[in-house]
Symmetry: C2
Subunit: 187 residues, 2 copies
């Protein structure tokens, strides 16, 4: 904590669990600001999230991302996303390199999302791809050409913010300093 | 809806409000999958979000983003973010151009986040910058050099996912097709 920011820091007075909701727990926290203002804040405590960018060639030789298509309950619609959490794609990676971290929602979520890029991917021949899926996660595993995702990000079905950020981290890694220089001079 | 995706679509049986939490309402929704599986899902209904990228020169002539520093209750820490929602920075824009849209969390949030870039910015001399702040939003308005944000995104205090995405949309707009070509050939 930076002492110059003291005037911004709220302090917790009391916190209580309101409801366990499976993928997060809802808490109410009473907090006080340096100026004496008090407020009650609703917070979601959730485990950290992980998503993985995997690059593969498809049968036509195109460079593709390994992605999953599924129904998302929040938006009540289909998304195509990078695999996250415990999703089972049927592939195994020998290496996982961290390429970016973010707070999905610092205003009311406590967690972080870590993105990795997979290296040395191979099909796991020891079992069927969907053997270990959570029973509520009906999904399709897809290979999406890199340019399709780059062109389509932000439009259906590529609307998941964590997938967009994973693509951003991946492009940053691939572009390296050239990318940073480009934006600096373009700005 | 694409008929090829019929096997993925869940249908709502019943939905009920669990708790109003100010910036979102918590609902429980019972839904059924095409294969007959039923589940109860906890969903946050929230209004759509907006954030705004504004570019200004600082006193030293550096190209900067107009940003806000504040305490974020979810991560219990300080972030520096693009202005969002009803935050009052003291500046007025003559134009707002949409540069990107995303679903912050399609798994359990219903809303979208729209990012705009501001054009023809000027200080609103008719009142003090913080006249209309929500009383719980103690914050500082800052000018952050573009290269500081590009270099620092994903590390404290630049950890808000919606800010990272707004930067991505901005870089995409600035880079245009060159950026897309770079990632395609790099991949």
């Amino acid at each position: 904590m930076n002492s110059r920011d003291d005037h911004l820091h709220w302090r917790e007075i009391v916190s209580q669990l309101v409801k366990r909701c499976g993928i997060f727990d809802l808490y109410e926290s009473r907090r006080r600001a340096p100026n004496g203002t008090e407020g009650i804040f609703h917070l979601l405590k959730a485990p950290d999230w992980v998503n993985v960018v995997s690059v593969l060639k498809d049968d036509a030789g195109r460079t593709c991302f390994l992605m999953v298509k599924q129904y998302r309950q929040g938006i009540a619609g289909i998304t195509v996303e990078f695999p996250a959490g415990l999703i089972e794609t049927g592939y195994r990676a020998k290496t996982l390199k961290p390429i970016g971290t973010i707070a999905p929602n610092p205003a009311f979520m406590t967690n972080r999302c870590y993105t990795f890029v997979a290296g040395d991917l191979h099909l796991d021949s020891s079992r069927e791809p969907k053997d270990r899926l959570d029973e509520q996660e009906l999904l399709d595993v897809l290979l999406v050409p890199v340019e399709d995702l780059v062109d389509g990000i932000g439009r259906d079905p590529y609307t998941n913010s964590m997938t967009a950020l994973a693509l951003y981290w991946y492009q940053r890694m691939e572009g390296g300093e050239k990318g940073a220089d480009r934006i600096r001079t373009g700005a």
